[in-house]
């Protein structure tokens, strides 16, 4: 979009006002309202928070988009510089708040790496179980809202009903449901509660029929197929060039998952598969995430059956003072590659923490994915990108 159009939209003028302004310029065609500029968001039911998308439309066809983000910017990276490593740990939960456990895992592992310590095996297993549960919870929330965007309102309630079971496990484990702060640098603070394994196993038995239920509502549904097939297509090469990661990348046929490519925590010990799509359209992304939920169940099953005994906290000094140096560590969050680039100056506070948010980078692909589609597809594509504005804006 050119500067001029941005000016117009940022002044908040409707096209009618705009044409009024153009009265003095006779070279403008008389019927100039073919191009419509509408603001989707920041208050809009389908932008998943405070995302503002400026759409340039020809009728209903999208000619171009521009994302305006930052409405939820809290300066997490600046906060980090004024907190100790331990104090900053809860903050990362507030970025991708639907996958808080994953955020915590990435941060703790990055700092552990910087400290050059390793969490004990039992802690790693607990981390894997909780992170995979969180992945399922995140995908459930994505599925519900995505289906709601496309107009199917019922799956939302089903997914929230089943997500509750996961949140209950979190709550019993660490007392919090959403921003869990489940892990500590060096391991876990809490030992699993009595009955943890039983509850997780119950969930493993409980959940597969529920996935079938979601799929019964959507997968074969004609309208769902028409709304998702060949919508928001992004090729594998484009996805790589745009730095898109996570299920969006895998749906474009790139078989890449950090859990396999560069295993962290205990992932190298588990047997699971990486689903990939073929066309890189919305339907493939849907299918990839559905299969991922089942694969997560597989991982959890292996982890909960093979969970070792032992300590849950590694040998971490009381005051965390990593040596001077810098580290980049990334994990496969539900949305994609979540990376932490930490620079330490040897003090108790990080000199600089840079978060590489998957949602932020994935959102950049929105423009090329929706060009030429209709307004209705824009919400479908925003949904399928599975962005969380807390993470986009940080």
């Amino acid at each position: 979009m050119s500067e001029h159009e941005n000016d117009v939209s940022s002044r908040g003028l409707s096209s009618l006002d705009r044409s009024n302004l153009d009265l003095e310029t006779p070279e403008k065609p008389y019927l100039d309202s073919n191009e419509l500029i509408i603001n989707m968001g920041p208050q809009h039911p389908a932008t998943h928070g405070v995302l503002r998308v400026i759409l340039k439309l020809d009728g209903e066809k999208v000619l171009g988009t521009e994302c305006v983000i930052g409405y939820l910017h809290r300066g997490v990276e600046k906060i980090a510089e004024n907190r100790t490593y331990t104090m900053f740990n809860p903050y990362v939960d507030r970025m991708d708040y639907v996958a808080a456990v994953s955020n915590g895992l990435g941060y703790c592992e990055a700092v552990e790496k910087l400290l050059n310590v390793e969490a004990p095996p039992r802690a790693k297993y607990i981390r894997v179980i909780l992170t995979e549960l969180n992945r399922i919870a995140s995908h459930q929330l994505w599925l519900g809202t995505h289906a709601l965007d496309i107009g199917a309102m019922t799956p939302l309630f089903y997914t929230f009903r089943d997500r509750e079971e996961i949140l209950k496990i979190f709550e019993r484990y660490c007392g919090a449901r959403l921003t869990t702060h489940a892990f500590r640098i060096g391991g876990c603070q809490y030992e699993t509660y009595a009955g943890f394994e039983k509850e997780v196993k119950n969930f493993l038995a409980f959940f597969p029929p529920k996935i079938d239920e979601y799929e019964a509502l959507l997968t074969g549904n004609r309208i769902w197929l028409e709304r998702t097939k060949n919508v928001g297509v992004i090729s594998g090469a484009d996805a790589i060039a745009l730095g898109v990661t996570g299920p969006v990348l895998r749906a474009s046929g790139v078989k890449w998952d950090l859990r396999k490519a560069q295993p962290y925590a205990a992932y190298s010990e588990f047997d699971f598969e990486i689903p990939i799509g073929e066309n890189g359209d919305t339907y493939d992304r849907y299918m990839v995430r559905m299969v991922e939920m089942r694969q997560s169940l597989r991982i959890i099953e292996q982890a909960v059956n093979g969970i070792p005994e032992g300590p849950i906290m590694g040998k971490v000094p009381k005051v965390i003072k990593p040596p001077v140096g810098e580290i980049y560590h990334s994990i496969e969050a539900p949305k994609g590659e979540l990376g932490y680039f930490i620079v330490s100056d040897g003090s108790t506070q990080p000199y600089r923490i840079r978060v590489r948010p998957p949602s932020f980078v994935n959102l950049q692909a929105l423009d090329i994915m929706v060009r030429g589609l209709l307004v209705a597809d824009v919400v479908a594509v925003i949904g399928t990108l599975d962005i969380v504005l807390g993470e986009v804006d940080r």
């Binding site: 209903e60 107009g151 209709l374």
Partner: protein, 429 residues
Amino acid sequence: MPNFIMSYLGSSVTPGEAGNQFWALMYVLIIFAGVSVAVMAMNWLERKALAHFQIRLGPMRVGPHGLLQPIADALKLMLKEDIIPAEADQFVFWVAPLIGLLASFTVYTVIPFGPSQAVSDMNIGILFMLGVSSLGVLGIVVAGWASNSHYPLIGALRSSAQMVSYEVAMGLAVVAAILMTSMKTGTGTLSMIGIVQSQQQQGIWFIFKFFPLGLIAFVIFAIAMIAETNRAPFDMAEAESELTAGYHTEYSGLRWSLFMLAEYAAMIAVSSIAVTLWLGGWMRPFPNLLHAPAWDFIFSFFPGLTFLALAAIALIGTARMPSHSFFRIQRIGLAVFAALLGFIALLLLVIAVAGRSADASLAARFNEGIGYVYWFVLKVAVFMYLFIWYRATWPRYRFDQLMKIGWKVMLPISLGVLMVTAIVGVLVK
């Protein structure tokens, strides 16, 4: 005055046809009130049914099981501040909901609840109905334009295109049914009452006529009528996840409620057309096969028994309410409601017994009329439930897909059905 009343009750034509202006007016009032109440009931039912589809409870606080919720909502909407956007076209913004409301309520003048239970029996009934209901789109278009905002404008454009294109398929499906009316008598009719009567004469609901032609035409109409009323999965005009609320984004309070009233009234209206054209209108099941007076007597118990069942459900609900003092008032309320339903049931049963004789006594005519209205409303209610069911189950179509279905699938099929019906009709004759 008594003469007025008796004169209509003694006649067998609609008040409009009889020139009975008093009763015509009465009917208009009754229908207006009845439809408004039906819309409120539908509102409650939709919220409850949708909630139960979605493992929720729905309204539970205002009245027992939220029974008074629609009333509370209506009050709230009436008292709400009436906001007209500063840049809106004031007059058009003001008049738009009225157009929609007018269109959907005018349709009821020709809907036959019984052979004489209608405001008027126009000989162009179905044509009038299609025409007037097509005026409803004007309200939407004008509302979208007058709001002077982009989302309503797009919603209005969508819905005008959608309604105009689905009207075509709808009209052709209707014509197929009208062709069927000419089968035995030789001349067809456009009159709504005439259509039902011809189904009676031919001894078949038109949905089963020339199987599967009638069924196909009916299905096309059933799909088109969802699109016509802007309901899921064709609720493009107000797709909340895309256009926030479509054409009524800028509306609030009473004006918004008028739009809702118009939408639900239109839903009931098109369902009534479908019932009239294909499902035998006011006729009870098997009126020709089981035509003995004994069967009449048995079927006349249905209304009373239905209300009895409703009363029983309400009673069970009363019994199942938690015995906490907090629920005492609700409990009493539900019990009173159950008692009310039971009383109505009793009344209906008494009428059924009293009116069993075939003479033209007042009770007999009452009994007859109740039977007609009961079966008609029951059939319409099935459609209303389907509307809710669709909404709970399906995602929303995209606009271009909707148009594609309308023009490339529904229109050819309905044209084909029309032609084949005409050919078959000639051959059979």
